[in-house]
Symmetry: C2
Subunit: 265 residues, 2 copies
């Protein structure tokens, strides 16, 4: 069971869309995948059609110890399952604030769990608070979705700083696997400039002692595609909603690139 | 001096782009406008080319009482000025948490100020925390930028609930002036569905005792336009960077609609 945090504190850059559809694409490729909604907005849950009105325990119950991982896992599709949530998870940020070892609650729950799967993908909230820190302490791989826009790049420094601190103080196994360009509009000067700046940053870090020394910008770019924005309103992944769309194509290509990049590491 | 909060807790929906370019468009129309960056991300400041490395006091100094509004205002263009900020503003959320009357600090500062202008536009962070509450307590008008996407609509209920609570408990003059469609891609079914759902919600609220009883969806829609995403990387408004673009056209049309809707109210 290998755990991945999908993280970027900038809002609206494609974290949830990536967690859902990369997860579904990995399942298409025969991997077994568990998605965890760690965002109090509950967008991953809403994307999959769960409205939080039933009695199945979710991420809040998991973190507060009221339910085990096995109790909270619910089926989504072939080889794909999820732990869902609603706005009540916002309470966990407050309740965990004073807890000893508050950042490693999720790590210990995943470590003790008997649930068997190949990948756990964690959709993080748009902040660097306690919930996101729990994800960074629990995983070995970090996937950073990025929108190739100037304002979206402003917070990148703070994100890498936070990852470095978690890597140094709590989770030395933490590695940034890659940066994913989302809502990519090829041919725009802006996208080319952003990619160039990132390539320069990563090149300078090669071989240095930091969690992103082996990180890459994925060759696969997720093009802007309205089907990716429509599929959540039908409670389905892009593979169920529009299997022949660019969106489905790009996330399947990403799954293939992800598997080739991560196997053997 | 009439104050407007540009607010939506969903990230990346066009708040900063709207505050900067509606502000600039109102200035083009002869109004005097002060922009206030109330987001610790400091994106409004970055959009205008301020990197926070000089000694001019900003929003943090304003809220902590270390500087008056007049000290913090810096010129941007003809009839356009700004109070800028950087990540240090995140400290204000923490410091204000235990302060008596923490939500009305900005209201009292704006009320006591001698700065003269027609409009103050406040760019809010993507959350409903203390900084956003300060904006809602300080203004009479609320402008809600929206991306016409399913996931972006999920949090609308919580936003209206927060506005209603501030209206009832602290600021009875609070009114939602309008909802603005940003990054609008006409012809998509999704956009039409979202607009329909919002029209229904607003129609049900007509005449009821709530801050959005007279709210409208602006006829002006801000089309997706790469020039709006490029202009921040040049530190300029869209009017300085690409005055003949759709982006400039749409925000000028919005300024005209804003002035016709608000004059006389
Ligand atoms: N490639 C794409 N093409 C078109 N629309 C997209 C694409 N990726 C995401 N979207 C849409 O853009 C919006 C933002 O994406 P998403 O919600 O996945 O971002 P996020 O980073 O998870 O946001 P938040 O920070 O609020 O959690 C959503 O409405 C989504 O449907
Ligand atoms: N109409 C538009 N067309 C194209 N790009 C746009 C448009 N409006 C905004 N953008 C771009 O989309 C991204 C999000 O916009 P913006 O930063 O204004 O949203 P925000 O709501 O202020 O985000 P945050 O919640 O992080 O403060 C930015 O990179 C911006 O340049
Ligand atoms: Mg999300
Ligand atoms: Mg903003």
């Amino acid at each position: 069971m290998r755990c991945v945090a999908v993280i970027n504190q900038k809002g609206g850059v494609g974290k949830t869309t990536t967690a859902v559809n990369l997860g579904a694409a990995l399942a298409e490729r025969g991997q077994s995948v568990l998605l965890i909604d760690l965002d109090p907005q509950g967008h991953l849950s809403a994307h999959l059609g769960f409205d939080g009105r039933d009695d199945v325990p979710g991420t809040y119950e998991l973190l507060s110890g009221a339910a085990s991982l096995a109790d909270a896992v619910r089926p989504v599709g072939p080889r794909l399952s999820a732990v869902t949530t609603d706005i009540g998870l916002a309470g966990a940020e407050v309740e965990l604030a004073g807890t000893i070892g508050r950042e490693v609650i999720l790590r210990d729950l995943l470590g003790a769990s008997t649930v068997a799967c190949d990948w756990v993908l964690i959709d993080c909230p748009p902040s660097l608070g306690i919930l996101t820190l729990n994800a960074l302490c629990a995983v070995t791989d970090v996937l950073i979705p990025l929108q190739p826009h100037y304002l979206a790049m402003q917070g990148a420094g703070k994100l890498f700083e936070t990852i470095a601190l978690v890597g140094r103080r709590i989770n030395p196994a933490l590695r940034v696997t890659g940066l994913l360009m989302c809502m990519y509009e090829s041919g725009t000067r802006l996208a080319a400039e952003v990619v160039e700046e990132l390539e320069r940053f990563l090149a300078e870090s090669r071989g240095r002692d930091c969690p992103w020394r082996d990180a890459r910008i994925f060759r696969t770019r997720i093009r802007r595609n309205i089907k990716l924005a429509e599929s959540p309103s039908h409670g389905r992944t892009v593979f169920d909603y529009a299997p022949r769309s660019h969106g489905a194509e790009d996330y399947l290509a990403l799954a293939d690139e992800w598997l080739s990049v991560t196997c053997g590491t």
